[in-house]
Amino acid sequence: PVSTDGRVETAEAEGFLEKYGYLHQDNHIHNPAEVKTAVREFQWLSHLPVTGQLDGATLKQMGTPRCGVKDEGS
């Protein structure tokens, strides 16, 4: 689910990070440190400032048209 301007809402960000291999998918429970690391990896691959924060640019990038294959290992 994305908001009208194509941005992924924060609540969905963890689902996105799971789908594309940044977070494990067991029981869907992640501690803040795991999420921060996952966000940093996603920002690095996406050429965004690596802050570990789910800022606007990061959420918007998650709504960008892309390939459905996981990013893990890249």
Partner: protein, 414 residues
């Protein structure tokens, strides 16, 4: 068809630059996940809704050729029966597991599986295109997904083909050094030695040749112009009530009596136009032709480009990448749709009228993302989106009819 295929190959080999960089990427699936043969077969299982099979087959062939040009691989299309790689279009959940279900327009456009599963799946709900900026370019997405079927993972290299993000077909080289290094680590260099690389421009030129070659005279079983099978990029009507339908690098004319021309090269009538346009409008106010693509506007008097054109849309205070444009007599100006808003262009000042853009809701019932619009001699405005049309009545200021244009409108040439 073979003559055409040789012509296309000549376009590719004639438009290549050799690759100098020798960087080494490390991006491929776990060791062992590669094909242990160099000649792979592929099949297109089904087709996107609004593109004719011919150009789709060309795009897929070109996408495979992209990789065979730079590696020791060779590919062959096999229309029926078992093949190494299969390409198919699906909607939503399609037996690949919930996390691989497609999500409609936008988001995940396609996905594929590493060797030797040999599957590449595309979201049929996407607006697939082979030209221009409306929709997602099927050639580029197919080339990316083929990379996965060969064992390549996503690349962190910006603008590489194997970057996870959709990349438009532009003028640049399609494969980056990283893409080439990764595929050569798995399958070696091409037998002929130096890899040859394809630019987006070369692909567009090859597709233009197809569109000119692929018309009814070459295929007696096709009785209608190509655009009748799918969508078009733009439509307008001139002072003689001749309708012009634009698609890719060609256009068709439909006379007031309903006679349809063969496909005509856009750039032959309007020199300096790009290979494909996003919006077109004839203005009865000044009898000039207006074309829009990306961030630029072209204006012609007949076939002569007016002085000072092309000019930037921003100079006129207009948005770029328009959906459609049309002259609207009740306003005495040109109207331009983009997304959920519309602008009004004053053709005397060539500036956007003040207090625009405004929300599309002013045009009660008009959908977003229209391909084109034109006003018929009775003053009614027809708007088109993919297979559908809407008729807008300027007197009632609302939609009064909608339907399937290829079936319902006898003046559109289908």
């Amino acid at each position: 068809h073979q003559v055409w295929a040789q012509r296309v190959y000549a376009v590719f080999t004639g438009k290549m630059a050799s690759n100098g960089s020798q960087n080494r990427g490390k991006r491929y699936a776990q060791p062992g996940e590669k094909w242990y043969k160099r000649h792979l077969t592929y099949r297109i299982v089904n087709w996107p809704r609004h593109l004719a099979p011919g150009p789709v087959r060309l795009a897929v062939r070109a996408a495979f050729q992209l990789w065979s040009n730079v590696s020791g691989l060779a590919f062959q299309e096999v229309p029926e029966g078992p093949t190494d790689i299969r390409l198919a279009f699906y909607e939503g959940e399609h037996n690949d597991g919930a996390s691989n279900a497609f999500d409609g327009p936008g988001g995940a456009l396609a996905h594929a599986f590493f060797p030797c599963r040999g599957e590449a799946h595309f979201d049929i709900a996407e607006r697939w295109t082979l030209y221009g900026h409306k929709g997602h370019n099927l050639f580029m997405v197919t080339a990316h997904e083929i990379g996965h079927t060969l064992g390549l993972e996503h690349s962190p290299v910006r603008h590489s083909l194997m970057s996870p993000y959709y990349r438009k077909l532009g003028r640049a080289l399609v494969l980056s050094w990283d893409d080439i290094a990764a595929v050569q680590q798995l399958y070696g260099k091409p037998l002929g030695g130096q890899p040859i690389r394809l630019t987006g421009q070369a692909f567009s030129s090859a597709l233009q040749e197809w569109e000119l070659a692929e018309e009814p005279e070459g295929h007696p079983e096709i009785t209608q112009p190509l655009y009748c099978q799918g969508v078009f990029d733009a439509i307008t009507m001139d002072q003689n009530h001749t309708v012009l339908v634009f698609r890719g690098s060609v256009y068709w004319t439909v006379s007031a009596q309903g006679n349809v021309s063969a496909p005509l090269p856009l750039q032959q009538r309007w020199p300096h136009l790009p290979l494909a346009i996003e919006a077109a409008a004839f203005s009865p106010l000044d009898s000039k032709w207006y074309f829009f693509k990306g961030k630029r506007i072209w204006r012609y008097s007949g076939s002569a480009l007016d002085h000072g054109f092309p000019r930037r849309s921003s100079q006129a205070g207009l948005p770029c990448h328009l959906d459609c444009a049309f002259y609207y007599a009740p306003l005495g100006h040109m109207v331009l749709f983009k997304g959920s808003r519309y602008s009004v262009l004053n053709l005397h000042t060539l500036r956007s009228e003040p207090y625009y853009p405004r929300r599309l809701a002013d045009w009660t019932g008009v959908p977003q993302g229209t391909n084109g619009a034109l006003t018929r001699p009775d003053g009614r405005l027809y708007l088109f989106r993919e297979q559908q049309y809407w008729r807008f009545d300027p007197v009632k200021v609302r939609m009064t009819r909608e339907g399937q244009w290829a079936q319902d409108l006898e003046w559109i040439g289908c």
